[in-house]
Structure formats: structure tokens, C-alpha cells
Symmetry: C2
Subunit: 430 residues, 2 copies
């Protein structure tokens, strides 16, 4: 039988191709989702056509730069499951409103048509789910049949409905382990040297990552002594009083701060005097700002770290649960697509069991797009400086198990892809 066709319900139909793209800030496990998709496709070759991947996310559709997975080196593709970053390139592109300006959406539709795309998987966070929904609606309104499915991914863990987001568990584990290790360091030096250590972690609006440091706490005076959440207004006086008290009681103080903490005038603590080309204040780092406060007011020696991309790329200390969930999202995407489901985001659904178990479900894109799930009040302690046991349990489930990449000569063996593109059929898009 011609490989371009499949037999469905007795009829011979031209097989539709899949378009997959990575979007937004990358994670240690977003490529595991791609790996799941690739593995599932290898078992469904009779139903689906080719897997084409957007080079640099949705920009790949706009520019008609579609990576032909079948031309990539197979042994490198096998490494995707343990490779951090976005192996095909990701993007931070906000598409224009399709009602006011349909040019970009029409272009995407044109590219879908030109490459016989019947399935669109967009792997991203809240903004990306909104894009997926808009593309789904635009195609439907224009009579083009394509199943659009959002694949969740964000270290921020701020997507609604899904119990958690692939990417979060591994970064949470990195932050928990790093805070534990740095706490042992400062504890050993505090007698004659550094008394305060501050770790700045990501999270502009939601404090899930800062919260994850709390899983190492196992007693009232143990680290981390202070967690600063974006959900809680930063009060310098209360903060300094707590630092002072902690050093007095424990000999040292470990602080984990979200980059996005704000004062009572809604200004970022990290805002620097300089502004970017849009007039937005540059965020200059929360940790050095807090360190200055403590040095000036309390005269303690302070050390601080900003983990930035190190946390978001730390595949070397990934959570096994997280890797398995990210992979399952990609793998299951094909089954959902096969049953012609459209306009949904896949979700991780925690089962109602005594030990942690989960499966993959769906949520309507319209219920997901542009909604941010912040830390619930019941997850933050009454004094606002820590997490509750409910929060601890939630995060502990997601950091379980170690999933190490293979190493060669002391370094991880991460995938090196070549991004072979399919032939363009359309004119250049401006």
C-alpha cells in the first residue's frame, strides 16, 4: 500500500502529517515530551503521516521552517528523553489578535495546508494554550480540519485544571537539593563567617518554585528559614526582624526568594533604575537587593546565588516522576489525536489513591488559556514565610525518583540535532 495512505473504516484516506512545536521558556524535560511523541508515532505509522517540527516554535510555521524528524540521526533522537532545553528551538512570540489582524493566522493555515497537517501539538504554558485555541478556532472558521492539542509544559507550574505541569517537578527537585546543599555549607561556616544565604529562584507571579525549597524543612529551626512568595506582599521590616531572630536562634539563616516579589505599592523588589526599550524596569536580581538590606541593617555577612537558567536546564538532577509525565504527555497525545479530539490541553490527573498515582486526561483549551494558577492560601503558612504540610506533600510527590542522563568522559550525553528542513512550498512570509 502507498505509504501516504491509511485504511480507516474500510476507506483509503491520505494520511495527515503532524506539526509539533515547542513554545515559551524551556524546561529540563520538554524534549521528553517530544521523545514520547516520536515513540508513539513509530507504533502508529499506518495511521499518521510525517512528524514535522517547527524550528523555533511557532516561528517555524510562520517561516515555513519545518524540521523533518525522519531525517534526523536516530541515535541522537534517542537522547531527547534526557536532553534539557528545547532541542528544536523555542520562541517567545505573541501572535496578533486574529480578529484585528488575521495575517499570521492565515499564514499558519496556509502552511498547514501546504504540508498536509492534520494534527497540531503545541508544547507550552498559558500563553501557548491561548495560541493553540486561536489557531484551532481560525482553522475551523475557515473550514480546515486540524486537531489542535495543547501539551502542557512550564516550570512555573501555573496552568489550571492539570494537577501539575511537566517541567515543574525537576526544577523543584533541583531547588530542593540545591537549597539543602547550600544550607549545609552555610551551617558549617556560620560560626566565623557567612551568617545568611539567599537563593533567588524563578517565578514572577506564582510561588511554586520558591515553595519547593520547603520540602527539605524538617523542624521549626531548620532551613529554609524564610521563603518569599510573589503571592505575599514583601514587608521589609517583618523580613529583617525574622532574619535577625533566625540568626540569633539558629546561628544562620537560609532564605529562598521568588524573583517576582513586590512591595505594597506593587513594585518589584528586583526592579533596577534602568529600563528596557519598552520602558519596563529591568529586574536586577532580588537576591542582591535582599543581601544589601541585610548587610546594611543587620551587619551580617551574606552570600547569595541566582540560579536563573541553571535551574530551568538542570536535567542532571531531574525528577523521575517528572520525566515520566512529560514523556506520557507526548506519547498519549497521539491516542487522543487518533480519536479526533480537538481544542483540548492534556492534563496530569492525580488519582484518588493512598500512594501517588496519575494518568493523562484532557481539559478544554478555553478553560485553560490565559489563566494562572498561583499558590493556594492553604499552601502557605500563617506567618507567610513557609509552606504547609499540604503543600509539602503535593511537591514531594513530584520530585520522587532520580532519572540521570548517561555520561561520557565526565559529561552528560545530550542530543545534537541537525534540524533538516522539508522543502518549502510557499513564498516567504513578512
Amino acid at each position: 500500500m502507498d505509504k501516504r495512505y491509511s485504511k480507516i473504516g474500510g476507506d483509503l484516506k491520505m494520511k495527515k502529517n503532524i506539526f509539533y512545536a515547542q513554545s515559551g521558556g524551556v524546561t529540563p524535560v520538554i524534549n521528553a515530551t517530544a521523545a514520547g511523541l516520536i515513540d508513539a508515532l513509530s507504533k502508529n505509522k499506518s495511521f499518521f503521516g510525517k512528524l514535522l517540527v517547527g524550528k523555533n516554535g511557532i516561528a517555524g510555521a510562520l517561516n515555513e521552517e519545518l524540521i523533518d524528524i525522519s531525517k534526523e540521526n536516530k541515535s541522537e533522537l534517542k537522547k531527547l528523553i534526557h536532553t534539557p532545553g528545547g532541542a528544536f528551538g523555542s520562541c517567545r512570540i505573541k501572535l496578533k489578535d486574529p480578529v484585528k489582524n488575521k495575517k499570521e493566522f492565515q499564514r499558519i493555515l496556509d502552511v498547514f495546508k501546504a504540508h498536509n497537517i492534520g494534527y497540531f501539538f503545541y508544547n507550552g504554558g498559558g500563553d501557548s494554550q491561548d495560541t493553540t485555541l486561536k489557531i484551532s478556532n481560525y482553522c475551523k472558521a475557515n473550514g480546515y480540519n486540524v486537531n489542535c492539542i495543547g501539551l502542557p509544559k512550564t516550570i512555573d507550574n501555573d496552568l489550571p485544571i492539570t494537577d501539575n505541569c511537566p517541567g515543574f517537578g525537576s526544577v523543584a527537585k533541583y531547588i530542593a537539593v540545591s537549597t539543602y546543599e547550600a544550607s549545609l555549607d552555610v551551617a558549617s561556616m556560620a560560626n566565623s563567617s557567612t551568617k545568611v544565604f539567599i537563593l533567588e529562584v524563578m517565578g514572577r507571579h506564582a510561588g511554586w518554585l520558591a515553595a519547593s525549597a520547603g520540602v527539605i524543612k524538617n523542624g521549626i529551626n531548620t532551613p529554609p528559614h524564610i521563603i518569599l512568595f510573589p503571592e505575599v506582599v514583601f514587608d521589609q521590616k517583618k523580613f529583617l526582624a525574622r532574619v535577625k531572630d533566625t540568626v540569633r536562634k539558629c546561628g544562620y539563616c537560609v532564605i529562598v526568594a521568588s524573583e517576582g516579589i513586590k512591595d505594597n505599592k506593587n513594585n518589584f523588589i528586583a526592579a533596577s533604575d534602568s529600563k528596557d526599550s519598552f520602558g519596563h524596569a529591568h529586574l536586577g536580581g532580588v537576591a542582591p537587593k535582599l543581601a544589601d538590606m541585610i548587610t546594611n541593617k543587620l551587619k551580617h555577612k551574606v552570600h547569595w546565588a541566582v540560579s536563573d537558567y541553571l535551574q530551568r536546564a538542570a536535567r542532571h538532577v531531574a525528577s523521575d516522576v517528572d520525566v515520566k509525565q512529560a514523556y506520557a504527555i507526548g506519547y498519549k497525545a497521539l491516542s487522543f489525536a487518533k480519536s479526533q479530539i480537538n481544542g483540548v490541553m492534556l492534563t496530569i490527573n492525580k488519582k484518588n489513591t493512598s500512594t501517588y498515582q496519575w494518568d493523562v486526561g484532557t481539559a478544554k483549551l478555553s478553560d485553560v488559556a490565559n489563566i494562572e494558577k498561583i499558590l493556594p492560601k492553604s499552601f502557605i503558612t500563617e506567618d507567610k514565610f513557609g509552606i504547609t504540610s499540604k503543600c509539602k506533600k503535593y511537591i514531594e510527590n513530584l520530585i520522587k525518583g532520580e532519572n540521570y542522563p548517561p555520561y561520557k568522559n565526565g559529561l552528560p550525553e545530550y542530543a545534537k540535532l541537525k534540524h533538516p528542513l522539508v522543502k518549502k512550498n510557499l513564498k516567504k512570509f513578512n
Copy 2:
């Protein structure tokens, strides 16, 4: 036979106790040296007395706070080999000159006498080797027989004579792996977002740690594109030109910077306007300073990380070679002590073999104390922004092999010690 005595050459002699202490900035593997010492002692009980450990380094001797290892929980001691930080407390204490002010040295001698110390192992860097030498000389001049042996430890890798320093290999591995991972992250985002990533690493005077990022480079346009060493005068114009050129050619630029880089007036780039109580400029972080330069002059979006204590405590990604060397230093210390060697620091000696092999040797403390080994010229490329293949080979040997701590419920199981102290025999020291 009375346990306090040993039979040496037919004579019955009172067994001498060992005093061990950790000093200076801690490392991911300094406790592996303690583990080696403890294991060796368990096989030499007929020769040595008790192992007493200084609480908070040499402060433990001054304050007569000596931890009795035999009273610690055995299963926790077993975890020392994979526990970062200084499990007994370390210190940053510079003893006064024994010629001008002998009070502190006399106190240490008094404590040694009061606790029957015959062996002193001091686990530290350059300053600590100097302390060990001074204590050795003071005891000898005062007719007290004690074998003083320095055990090398420093992530800075700046001790002379020894081929390398325990602690360096693991932090080098952390920096190499982290730079690799963050490079994949920025490479995937560069098309529409961050173009430059800066990682700040430790190293005030010696660039060994910054150099270690260079082991991931495998081609002229691959990351890290720029390494900034404290051995090279920082030239802003040349630096910005190189960043600009790299972004043009590669699409993104990864920079690894030593905290200690200085301009041509010998001022730290990281110096902030604020000063500490001694009038020293606070080091405010090199990475944000460099980021400001690039944002202002080149208008690129920049991300930056400061790994600080995270690097120094990162036992979760330790080098197997490093762990083995740190352990061997502790284990072999007892054999050297048994043969009554005094006034030496143990060294790692690279063997003259085709594959990397090493053993433990000795160097006179007087040849080691207060000498800093910086990066040799032959290890830095001609353009001063990278490492040579000779340097790469040197570091590759030291990051080989993975040595993971055991985990429970998603977190490493690190030792929790109780620090039971022996009874004090002396008056309080002021």
C-alpha cells in the same frame, strides 16, 4: 590489654589521640576525607587512640570543643563520604603571629596536652597549611611531640606542588555540566528572546573554576564562547566586541566569568559602591555588572546566574575521581602519621601513565604555605577568552565518573551529626 595502650616494638606505650579539623571554605567532598580517616582508624585501633574533631575548625581547639567521633551515630558517619559542607563545622580564623602573640598557639598546645593529642590533621587550603606549619613549629619549639599533617582541600585548586586539590574536580564538573545545560537553554530561546547568558563562578585570584566550563567546548563557535579569568586584565572594549561578534556569528553567546576579574587599575569589576565595616568594597556580583554593560551597549537581552554556594556544595553531581581522591587523602593520612612523618601536606601525584592514574604523596608544609597556584599561561588561549587543549585534558581527568549520593523520597540522604563533645579539662579561653 588496656585499650589506652599500644605495643610498639615490644614496648607498651600510651596511645596518642588524633585531632582533626576542617578549615576555610568547604567543598562537596571535604567530608569524604573525614570518612577516609575514620575508616583507616577502624583498622588501626591498636595503634591510635581516639579521633577528636574540632567543632568549627581550629576554633574547636581554642574553645576546647572536641567532638568525640566514637559517640556519633555510626550510620550517620557512614554518610559522610557523600555529604557536602563541613559536617563538623569549618572556620575562617586567621591565627595571630606566634612570635608577636603566642597566646593562641600556647592554648592549642595546652589543649593538645590536655587531650593527649599525638597527631594533628588540618584539612584546608593555603592559609590552613600555613597554620599547620606554625602549630608544628610551635609544638616542636616547646618540646611537645605531635605529628602535624596538612590535608589538602580547596575548590579553588590553587595549592602548589599537588597536581590538583580535592574539592576542585566536583565543582569543575558542576560548572561544566551547568554551563552545558544553560547553553542548550539559551540556544533554544535565542531566536526570539535571550541572546546572552552569563554564569559567574568562584575564583578571586585563580581561574581554575572558570576554566572548567571550557571542557564542554567542541568547536570554534560552540559554548562557552567567552571565559573571563582573574589572571587576565578585563578589557571592556575587547569583551563587548567579542560578545557582539559571537551573537552575530552564532546567534547567541555564553559567558563564564570568575568573580575575581579586575580592570587595568586592579579594581574588581564586581566592586559595588557600598563598603563593609573594614572599608573594603562589597563585591556585588560580576554577572550583573557584565549584564548591564551588554544591555546598555549592545541592546541584547541578557540572562545571568551566580552559582555561589550552590557550586561549592553540589555533592549531587560530584566527580567520582574527586570523591576517591578526597577519601584517599584521609585514609592515607594515618599511614603517613604512623611512620611519624611531620610538617608535610599530603599531595595528589599524577602518575606518568597514558591513562590517568594517581597516588598520594607528600610536600613540605614550608614549600606549600601561602603560595597560590594560578592558571599557567599555557592553559589560556592566545585570545585570552578560552582554555587550551592542555588545560582541557588536565580538567577532563578530574571530572571523570559520577558518584551520586543515595536518595530517599526524592532528596539526598546527607549525614546529620550530633557533635557530642568530650569533657573539658581546661579553663575557658578568651
